[in-house]
């Protein structure tokens, strides 16, 4: 289950932030009003807004740092975000800066316009006017006070208090007599606010003691004024008279109003620069806070707007990297949300198509592997060609039968292949008319002169067609039927031999016996030439019958089923044993070239001796009269196709075998010699085939006859009887 955090909607957060800022700024703005009760909160508000600005600055800074990192990492959507932020900041900063600039200008001029030289002068004049009006009154009152003091100075101290009451004619005056120590001697007046008279402060007393009378204006309460006069009594240094005269309320209010206005104006003048600073600071804070909040809100909003685009970029990158399982969360239901949904649908479909394609590919791969296995295990050569007769595919049997490595020439023109393998060129020349015929299927039997000898091939061709039915090439299947044809011939000959032996051998003995009986019976009765004729005829009969018996026995030998006992043996000692029977003076010099590292072969030693013996004998007999022959017997490890084999090559320098006989040299009664039964090579081939090997006449050998015997190597698991070693 996905973890969900409880977060207020972005829009709500931004609105709340702006409201908070607006309230704070409004409070600050209100606080700057002169009469505002929020004035006391001004410092706190400035501090709060300053801190808020710093916090927002931090947030914006963090966002810029994040964006810079995203840009450095080339993260998806970072470019778009930075552009939008830049644009947004520029759009908000430009008008705000203009407004700020003109606001500061306006503020500056407005504050300056409050102060005027004329007003300044007027204010000073008004104050002086007030002071002059009061000064006149103060002079009169001082004179009046001094007169009272003069009259009091003539009175004895004990009567001073009474005398004071008599002299006080002014009902708004409070007269007090007091000593240097502040002891009140007498008081007369209407003051009832305080129990004790308000005595002058020390500064005044210092002045009076120096003989200078004091007169001064004092404020009482908010709008009341009084004049204080202090004089010393003449001749009585230690007694002072203080007179406090209340200024009429109307005059006091007027002068107070003038003073208040003057004071306010002076204060404003003094605070002129501070005022500008405060206003500018407030304005700057408002601008800064608004801008920072706007930029931060822009970051939040743009990140949210760009999020689907960023997700799409991430998704596209993932798909480009082959990740089709990527699903993007749909957070927005708008156009971008629709785009993300469409992207998810597209990814689903791509993934589905990819799966299907993989499935199909897998099926095709399996089919191909199956076909390859089948083709590889086929004994027939299977080749496919395109319409230009370039080889497209070839199985292992094709390489084996046609003695060529087709793998290296896949896709190459036939000329190249024929250049590399000249024997293939001969084959292709025979096949080419049929291959180019574009007929749906055809068959052909032909003789193929391969490097290993003559082969009988059975070829079948089938055309390949494209989806539009056009001819695109063909499949050629070639079977090596050499062995089959030879086996057929061999079987036929065996049958002939068996019947011959059966049909001819039986009457031969009675014929021989009858001839001997005739001679025995008639020899006694005949004499002279008749007896000679009889003797000669019967002898001829007996000899010919013997010869026929020998021939029939040979046939019988050829036809009868052999009893071969296969066992692992080493071929080299066997060859040496047989060769030892032919001393050098026997008219045939035998040169042995035996590979010492040969593995064992699977064979019957008796029959193998017979084979080698037959072939040596054949070579010796083939030599022209009076000429010493030379024979080479070679054993090598065959590295041909399939499993390991051992090759035994017997070559002589005799007259060789005529090309017209070469094809059938292993068939009975095919011989180049004047004597013999013509069964020698037929028997040799039969033995070799019984041993699982092959014998071929190397037609390429031009110095005489050369036979190549191939025998299979004994498998390591075979139970080895090591007698031959």
């Amino acid at each position: 289950m996905a973890r969900r955090t409880l977060r207020p909607p972005l829009t709500l957060s931004i609105i709340a932030l702006f409201l908070a800022i607006l309230v704070s700024l409004h409070l600050m703005s209100t606080a700057t009003q002169d009469a505002s009760e929020l004035g006391e909160m001004y410092s706190s508000l400035v501090l709060t807004n300053g801190l808020a600005s710093l916090m927002l600055l931090g947030l914006v800074g963090a966002n810029i740092y994040w964006l810079a990192r995203q840009l450095r990492k080339k993260a998806a959507g970072s470019n778009l975000t930075s552009r939008m932020i830049f644009l947004f900041s520029l759009l908000s900063l430009a008008p705000a800066s203009i407004v700020f600039y003109y606001s500061v200008q306006f503020l500056d001029r407005s504050v300056d316009s409050w102060f005027d030289v004329n007003v300044d002068q007027a204010m000073d004049d008004a104050l002086k006017l007030g002071q002059t009006a009061l000064d006149e009154r103060m002079r009169n009152l001082l004179k009046e006070t001094e007169q009272i003091a003069q009259q009091l100075s003539t009175s004895p101290i004990s009567l001073l208090s009474i005398r004071l009451g008599e002299l006080n004619e002014n009902e708004d005056a409070d007269l007090t007599l007091f000593t240097r120590q502040g002891q009140i001697i007498g008081f007369n007046g209407s003051q009832t606010e305080t129990m004790t008279p308000n005595l002058p402060e020390i500064g005044i007393m210092v002045q009076v003691r120096q003989g200078k009378p004091y007169i001064g204006l004092e404020t009482i309460g908010h709008d009341g004024l009084q004049i204080r006069a202090v004089v010393s009594l003449i001749g009585e240094d230690a007694i002072f008279l203080q007179a406090i005269y209340r200024i009429p309320r109307q005059l006091a209010q007027l002068t107070d109003s003038v003073e208040a206005a003057y004071q306010h104006y002076k204060e404003l003048t003094f605070l002129r620069r501070s005022l500008k600073f405060t206003f500018t600071l407030t304005l700057s804070l408002i601008l800064l806070l608004s801008l920072l909040a706007a930029v931060w809100a822009a970051f939040l909003s743009i990140r949210r707007i760009v999020e689907p685009v960023r997700l799409l970029a991430v998704g596209t990158r993932a798909i480009a990297d082959g990740d089709y399982e990527k699903r993007l969360p749909v957070k927005d239901r708008g156009e971008l949300g629709f785009l993300v949904e469409s992207f998810n649908t597209m990814t689903d479909k791509i993934a589905q198509a990819r799966d299907e394609a993989q499935q199909s590919k897998w099926v095709v791969e399996r089919q191909r592997a199956y076909l390859e296995t089948v083709l590889a295990s086929l004994s027939s050569a299977v080749l496919s060609f395109d319409s230009e007769l370039r080889v497209l595919t070839a199985n292992q049997s094709a390489n084996h039968i046609l003695h060529a490595d087709f793998e290296q020439y896949i896709g190459w023109p036939p000329v190249v292949l024929c250049g590399a393998y000249p024997h293939i060129a001969e084959l292709m020349s025979q096949l080419e008319p049929s291959m180019n015929s574009e007929s749906p299927s055809w068959k052909m039997e032909l003789t193929f002169n391969s490097p290993a000898g003559r082969q009988e091939l059975f070829c079948r061709g089938s055309s390949l067609y494209g989806t539009q039915g056009q001819h695109e090439g063909l499949v050629l299947i070639i079977d090596d039927v050499t062995a089959l044809i030879q086996a057929q011939r061999s079987t036929a000959w065996s049958e002939v031999a068996r019947r011959l032996a059966h049909e001819i051998k039986n009457p031969l003995t009675p014929i021989q016996l009858s001839a001997e009986r005739l001679r025995h019976k008639l020899a006694k009765t005949l004499e002279g030439p008749d007896l000679e004729v009889l003797e000669k005829s019967t002898r001829t009969i007996v000899q010919q019958v013997e010869a026929m018996k020998t021939m029939v026995n040979a046939f019988s030998e050829y036809a009868k089923p052999s009893h071969t006992q296969l066992r692992p043996l080493r071929i080299n000692p066997l060859v040496e044993e047989v060769v030892a029977l032919y001393p050098p003076n026997a008219g045939l010099h035998i040169d042995l070239q035996l590979d010492p590292d040969l593995p064992e072969v699977l064979g019957d030693p008796v029959k193998l001796r017979q084979v080698i013996h037959n072939l040596i004998k054949n070579a010796a007999e083939a030599m022209p009269q009076g000429r010493s022959g030379k024979m080479t017997i070679q054993t090598t490890f065959g590295v041909g196709f399939g499993t390991g084999t051992i090759e035994l090559r017997l070559s002589d320098d005799g007259p060789g075998i005529a090309p017209d006989q070469a094809e059938r040299i292993f068939e009975p009664y095919v011989t180049s010699k004047t004597k013999g039964t013509g069964l020698g090579l037929a028997i040799v081939r039969r033995i070799i085939e019984e041993l699982g090997g092959q014998i071929k006449l190397d037609t390429a050998y031009r110095h005489g006859a050369s036979f190549l015997i191939t025998l299979p190597v004994a498998q390591p698991s075979t139970d080895v009887n090591d007698e031959q070693r």
Binding site: L127, E201, Y214, F277
Partner: protein, 188 residues
């Protein structure tokens, strides 16, 4: 014109930032002595203070800006932890004003409303320098035969200045006029 202002504000701001570190001046408020005078069960505070206002403050006063002095007395029980409330805490707010019409100065006790007029600033400061018989509140909290720590502070209240001057005052060291906390042990 505007750039001059900006430079001025920038300098003030910079000065304000550096003020607490670098300001060392002959101006300020200094408490020379302070003690409680016991008369019967009543304790009153007497103190001698030396006021050395900066030219800015004096000029402001003469231009009609009232200056408010905040006098704070705290008495702490030494047995209490430092973060606990003090045993006694009392404040007096004394305002100095200039009367342009009368060309006189005035001291007003903002707590009691008592007003005193003076012919010159010297006599004002002379009067203010002798704080006598302050009957602070919370005297009942004293226990006999127990010692206490008394702390007295004088400072110019920037918050009482006119609003436009407040920020400048906060940022300018010339307006930071206050005493170091004057502390003495009140023996039983």
């Amino acid at each position: 014109m505007r750039s001059r202002h900006l430079i001025f504000f920038a300098l003030i701001f910079l000065e304000g930032l550096l003020a607490p570190l670098a300001w060392s001046s002959p101006y300020g408020i200094f408490i020379k002595s302070a003690d409680f005078i016991t008369s019967g069960d009543l304790k009153t505070l007497s103190a001698d203070i030396d006021y050395r206002f900066t030219p800015s403050a004096i000029k402001a006063l003469e231009e009609g800006i009232p200056l408010t002095l905040l006098i704070t007395l705290k008495v702490r029980d030494p047995d209490r932890l430092w973060f606990q409330e003090p045993l006694i805490e009392d404040q007096r707010r004394i305002q100095l004003r200039y009367q342009p019409l009368a060309k006189s100065f005035q001291i007003a006790d903002l707590g009691s409303g008592a007003v005193q007029n003076f012919a010159s600033l010297a006599t004002v400061l002379d009067t203010l320098s002798r704080l006598r018989g302050w009957k602070f509140v919370g005297q009942y909290a004293f226990e006999k035969e127990k010692s206490y720590d008394a702390i007295l502070r004088f400072k110019l209240d920037i918050e009482s200045l006119p609003l436009p001057l407040r920020l400048v005052a906060y940022l300018s060291p010339e307006w930071h006029l206050e005493t170091e906390p004057y502390q003495w042990r009140v023996e039983p």
